[in-house]
Amino acid sequence: MAPTFYHDDPKWSNIKPIPQNDTARPLAAIAYTDEYSEAMSYLRAVMAKNEYSHRVLGLTDHIISMNPAHYTIWLYRFKVLSELHADLREEIAWLNVTALKHLKNYQIWHHRQTVIDKLGSPEGEADFIATMLQQDTKNYHVWSYRQFLVQRFGLFDDEGELKWTEGMIEEDVRNNSAWNHRYFLVFGGKGEQTADKAIVERELNYAKAAIKKAPQNQSSWNYLRGVVRRNKLPTSTLKDFALEFADIEKPDDVTSSYALDTLADIYTEYQSKREEAKKALDLLATRYDPVRAHYWNYRKRLLE
């Protein structure tokens, strides 16, 4: 594609570009192409006079195509869209194409968030996100954006959203982002409010079933422990379950270090079980999780 210039474009003849005024020997200077450099000079000029117009919208398109990581352009673009009362559906359609070209870009997600927020409808967003997550199942920005949608449009108790999240966990039971999203869906909208007993039960069973598939998976254990803690159940609720994977009486047969960790916490809750707690922590420090020996020993010292 031939480079685009503005200096000989009559539509831009009333703009006096402002060139980048770097000093003589700047550090980490970039040898911009003439095209990028000129476009930025025109941008500085229109920003200086707060111009919000269709030609500026086109200018931001152009610069984004050369450097999508330019937060200034995105922020200014949104202002232009707002001032022009532009069709935000069109903007989303444009973003869908642009996002796929720049998968790793952060700014694009914040821009999308502000546009959808203003548009006031999450229609089509779930599908788009699903496409993006197919490329990168743990992308932090995509998941954070999904949490924004849930919050903004009150999808906490949405069946479809929960089903979709389950599908993501089904695909990879170790995808921690999916577990975090599930927790957000189930408990994130409740604040301090207590959850229904049936829901707590459902979540405990869900996490337990996942642990049975892969006992040495910290995501599902963290979830299980999180549900117990959030709902103020005693850790000992999990004793029988944890014993299925670890028993200090059978130190050779531990199939989950997280079960051992859970048992250590349970025994710690009882003054009379201090020795058992120490034994569990010893097994972790010396055998089942030696890289964290300092941490397990620290926990042991707390018992003394």
Partner: protein, 480 residues
């Protein structure tokens, strides 16, 4: 910080590990500078290799699930790439007395000097991140023990055009002010030091800019109309503490209309809401716990007051400790940023440097510093200089800076000294100046005397002296 950088989001790396042909190219790169030496010490090398393998075996957990998923597959592939570097010495580096590669000081310094130089047009994507490139490189150089004072004037000049007329710094001339750029610019200027550098910052307009970033829920946005996340809270407080910016919100701060009067209003509560059910800290309430955001959260609270008080007040510390220690990958020894993610050298700092702050609050040493240092020396040094995410990756200033900061935090004992803190002058956010280095780490050492990195301030991530000089300068100054 996962900010305005070209660093890919951690998860997108999965793909690269598997498919990046650069990896093959770089790993098979065999221009062997130390070939002769290597042959001479061949038997010694074998002994070291045996010792390393024994160590690695002692760190591997014997439990392994049979169920395969995308996560376990990429994890296995990563380990296969990293392991040869932990056991042997594929880069043919000279070894220290512990049988691990020496810190390649000169090579890393040369890499960072180059990172401060000119970039070709294809690097236009870094146009908004130039303050970061400068900060990472300068911090890396000082960590390696290099004097940067000969660059002082250039540093000051570099940031003149990026200071916004309405306050704060952008990525460059004409760019909107952004807290990440502001953070990197201010730290660079503080490292440069001296009246010209200090006075180049317009503190009054900075105060107004920060006032516009303060949100009614207690947090900070990164830019006007930008995202609100925990980086904002941390970056704002770092800048305020170093420049001795008033704690009262400026009269034109929008948050004032909602009854707020100071920058700290509801801030502790907001940061507290970022702690997740896993115990770690997320970018914003509801998001997933993440190592880089954990450092921002802990740093922010440690600026608000002594960590002994603020961390215990706003965080569930036992849960945080549990999550933080879980970040150490086994057997790699380096850290990952989230549960079930891959080891990455930049978390040597983001997670590794959380430890001094957390240990100050709980009063105990809990982390495994030797395992981390092994990862940094063996697996995170690029053959040609600069440090990296993991073997097969290209070096960049970001990973160089943060691997070195993590190594420094492992080698030195950074302690919060209650006794020094109270007589710190008028600074309203004076707590970060209560830190000092109390000698060297006394546990199992894997670095030689020539592998030491300089002391790094645990919250500001610049040399201690640079922070101290800056504090004194602005404390002595009346008004803006």
């Amino acid at each position: 910080m996962a900010g305005q950088t070209s660093v890919p989001a951690p998860s997108s790396r999965l793909q690269e590990i598997v498919s990046d042909s650069n990896r093959i190219e770089e790993l098979s790169d065999t221009d062997n500078e130390y070939a002769d030496e290597y042959e001479d010490v061949g038997t010694v090398v074998d002994q070291h290799e045996a010792a390393n393998m024994a160590y690695i075996n002692s760190m591997i957990s014997p439990i392994r699930d049979s169920l395969e998923t995308e996560t376990s597959i990429t994890q296995d592939e990563t380990l296969a790439v990293v392991l040869p570097f932990l056991e042997g010495n594929p880069n043919d580096f000279l070894l220290n007395t512990f049988g691990l590669p020496k810190l390649q000081r000169e090579k890393h310094a040369a890499f960072l000097h180059q990172a401060l130089g000119d970039y070709p047009a294809q690097m236009a994507a870094m146009d908004a991140a130039r303050p970061w490139l400068v900060y990472w490189s300068l911090q890396g150089l000082t960590a390696l023990g290099y004097d940067i004072s000969d660059m002082r004037d250039r540093i000051v000049e570099t940031f003149l055009p990026s200071q916004h007329p309405d306050g704060g710094y952008g990525g460059g001339h004409g760019q909107l002010p952004h807290l990440a750029a502001t953070y990197a610019a201010v730290l660079s200027l503080v490292m440069a030091g001296g009246t010209t550098a200090y006075e180049s910052v317009n503190r009054k307009s900075m105060w107004h800019y920060l006032g516009r970033m303060k949100q009614v829920d207690g947090g900070f946005t990164m830019a006007p109309g930008g995202e609100e996340d925990i980086r904002g809270a941390f970056c704002a407080l770092v800048v305020m503490s170093l420049l001795n910016i008033p704690l009262d919100l400026p009269p034109d701060a929008p948050a004032r209309a909602h009854g707020m009067t100071t920058f700290l209003d509801k801030l502790g509560e907001w940061v507290s809401r970022c702690q997740t059910f896993e115990g770690g800290i997320s970018a914003a309430p509801g998001n997933e716990a993440h190592g880089a955001y954990a450092f921002c959260g802990l740093g922010c609270l440690s600026i608000m007051g002594p960590p002994t008080e603020t961390l215990n007040k706003y965080f569930d510390m036992p849960l945080l400790l549990h999550w933080l220690s879980s970040r150490q990958c086994s057997p790699e020894g380096g850290y990952n940023g989230r549960t079930n993610k891959l080891v990455d050298g930049c978390y040597s700092h983001w997670v590794g440097s959380c430890w001094p702050l957390v240990e100050a609050a709980v009063g105990k040493e809990v982390s495994n510093r030797s395992a981390l240092a092994r990862y940094i020396l063996s697996a995170a040094q690029h053959k040609k200089g600069g440090l990296i995410d993991k073997p097969g990756k290209r070096a960049d200033a970001y990973h160089t800076c943060y691997n070195l900061a993590g190594l420094s935090a492992a080698q030195h004992k950074n302690v919060y000294d209650e006794a020094t803190a109270p007589d710190i002058g008028k600074s309203e956010l004076g707590a970060p100046f209560g830190w000092k280095v109390d000698g060297l780490f006394e546990g199992e050492r894997v670095w030689g005397d020539e592998d030491f990195v300089e002391e790094v301030h645990p919250i500001f991530v610049i040399p201690y002296q640079a922070a101290e000089d800056c504090r004194r300068y602005f404390e002595a100054k009346e008004g803006f």
